[in-house]
Symmetry: C2
């Protein structure tokens, strides 16, 4: 289903800001194409957490979805996570979709044209999800716009929309049509609170209704991610949305670096947490699979990780606070969307370069099965940490430090 | 420095309970021996978090250490983590050692002989660390004994010692001799509290003094890890030990699955957290690098992960609660000790099969540099989580759930 050209690792010097070999589709493909099968199997056992290194089962998809994939040039992959059969509960199998995409027009185009062109680009991918019977679909962070926060220019705020704005109405129609829950992460304009701006995920039910919203809790100030220039820390807590297809939550982008944020969605009962993101290779690629998989393991839920793809070039050059010359792009958004399961397994990632739809069947019974197996919730001793954090947030917090009494007598 | 035979992945059917290819030394070796250099470089960039895929620099070690390694047949590897040079602080370079080993005698031998034979086996490894100028050394969990908790037999409690017992005196001599801080994780007998048993790390200062102890906070009840049969949750909080070579802490074994436990050591100011462990392939191998590296990233400190090696066979067969026949071993302890840095990089792992000493130089300045770069502490919003946990620990906690109002009207 995917392009495999250049999978031997041809260096593509054109993407020079990425600073690495990039002529391959994904780490998974690089390894599978270059290792003997029995070695790839062992690597998969450890790296993908696959039992005995056996690949996840793939799902057969309808021809209409495949036709959309080839006709609109997006990657389409589909895997299945299994759970043990239980005696007292029926399986609760949910089909989840993740969409990653590049923007559709140059950032110099009229804003309305840019947004509408993204709608047109994403629609066949949503159609493919609908045709494939996806139950819960998540789009990438701020999917209606280029990720312009590197520029520090306020004019990009025009892309912000109210929760019931144009993009939501567009998604509502598709949610209703396909009986699908859709998570739509947008830049939100909160008109009723002084036109403030938030980074928000709108949760749209399978009947096209707006179930609610979640605002990004943790805002980066790192590299070109000048997001604190544009919006503030969310004020919506850690809601879990009870939908027709299970309890879901959204940890937006930089929140994935915060284990407490992941924890909070777990304590509120999430079974699937989506992490719509926008992040670039030089900054975060080695951290990308680790944080999501750790969250899935530690919290006994599924995680769907989404990152946009491509390099977005902006009209006015900007500096990055690293002493280097001004430049006009953010670096390469490396895609690599994937799903992590509570048993430490995960799917291969979507392409580092192409648009893609990743579909995964997951039996939500696996969450409680893992809680029973590993007992992380029961052994967590939350009372210790409630006490520690209550003390820590006070200005006069004293860390628990035991000093070597000889430290200031004999120094080495 | 390491054996590379069978690195092409020869299947060793003898270790059948491991259920996988095992005739290779480590994942790192498997990949480096079977991928073309430019591909291995790219894989290293993503998998080991190495800048542009460049390998960590190796450290040149004295001939005396190498002679001990070859004379006593243990793996010896040494790497160097770099940090940026600062203008107002000198580098704070600490040389850290991790030791992994198998037991020395069959578990049928007299207990005192078993323990003394382990002392003899571990001594040349500690000598090699001393000869190499290691500043802080950590041994594996319950290093004085076989990991007998799978048996549920209480007679193994005889291995427990007071904090100032025989093993501590043995380590104190070596700490003094080599001016080295040593962390000695043992099964502790608390004579002053009714002969109770704990899983404890004793922290011995570079002058041979006992700085303090930490008792394992989270106790597993998973698979054959029947540890809750033997000892209880620790009552020593999350101490950070201020030593001559930096602020260190110990997250013992199963505590690595608990992000809050990692967090607490960070909040108390740890710069290096050791994770002495005992864990087997079938249960945890895919989780092993993820949890440690996630902790290092999220908490902006170094993590030293240690796991014992080999298969330990016990006198009396036992069952595992999985419906399978009784058996006499715990599975394969897969070693793979390694160091993770706050910048998401990590060392290659020690062997999955051999004893080993892993040495790493680390500039502790890297911890604060990463805090400044990523800002995780400043963006963490601990007040939200102090509040959540305070509510969560109450019996009447109500999760923050937003239900689709149409949920019970139209079900899909």
């Amino acid at each position: 289903m995917e392009k495999t050209d250049a999978i031997d690792g041809k260096v593509d010097e054109a993407s020079s800001r990425e600073g690495s070999v990039c002529g391959y589709d994904s780490l998974h493909h690089l390894l599978s194409a270059n290792l003997k099968p029995h070695l790839f199997q062992e690597v998969s056992r450890i790296l993908l957490g696959l039992n005995c290194g056996k690949a996840l089962e793939t799902i057969s998809l309808p021809e209409s979805a495949k036709a959309l994939s080839s006709g609109h040039d997006f990657d389409l992959q589909a895997y299945c996570f299994l759970a043990d059969k239980e005696l007292l509960r029926e399986p609760r199998i949910v089909r989840v979709g993740l969409i990653q995409n590049s923007i559709a027009l140059p950032t110099t185009a009229h804003f309305l044209d840019q947004k509408r062109a993204i709608f047109e680009k994403v629609k066949p991918m949503i159609d493919a999800a609908g045709a494939s019977g996806v139950n819960v679909l998540c789009l990438q962070e701020a999917w209606t716009m280029p990720f312009a926060f590197c520029t520090r220019e306020k004019r990009w705020c025009e892309f912000a929309e109210p929760v019931d704005g144009e993009s939501t109405r567009f998604i509502q129609d598709l949610a209703r049509k396909y009986n699908m829950v859709i998570i739509s992460p947008i830049l939100e304009r909160d008109v009723n609170h002084g036109d403030t701006i938030w980074n928000t995920a709108v949760i749209i039910g399978n009947n096209g209704n707006i179930i609610g919203k979640h605002r990004k809790n943790h805002i980066p100030r790192v590299g070109d991610f000048n997001e604190s220039t544009y919006y503030m820390e969310g004020n919506t807590g850690h809601p879990v949305f009870e939908t027709a297809y299970g309890k879901i939550a959204v940890n937006i982008c930089y929140g994935r670096h915060h284990p407490l944020n992941w924890l909070a969605f777990g304590l509120n009962g999430a079974e699937i947490v989506f992490n719509p993101s926008a992040t670039v290779g030089e900054l975060s690629e080695p951290m990308w699979p680790i944080e999501a998989r750790n969250a899935a393991i530690a919290n006994s839920y599924f995680v769907g990780s989404i990152n946009r793809v491509g390099t977005e070039v902006f009209p006015n050059p900007f500096t990055s606070g690293d002493g280097k010359p001004a430049h006009a792009d953010f670096g390469h958004f490396y895609g690599s969307s994937h799903v992590s399961a509570p048993d430490a397994s995960c799917t291969p990632s979507l392409s580092r370069h192409r648009d893609g739809l990743l579909i995964s069947d997951m039996d939500l019974n696996l969450c409680r099965q893992l809680k029973d197996k590993w007992g992380f919730r029961m052994t967590a001793r939350y009372d210790l940490y409630a006490d520690l954090l209550a003390r820590y947030v006070k200005p006069d917090f004293e860390p628990q430090v035991i000093s070597d009494p000889l430290l200031h007598k004999k120094s080495p």
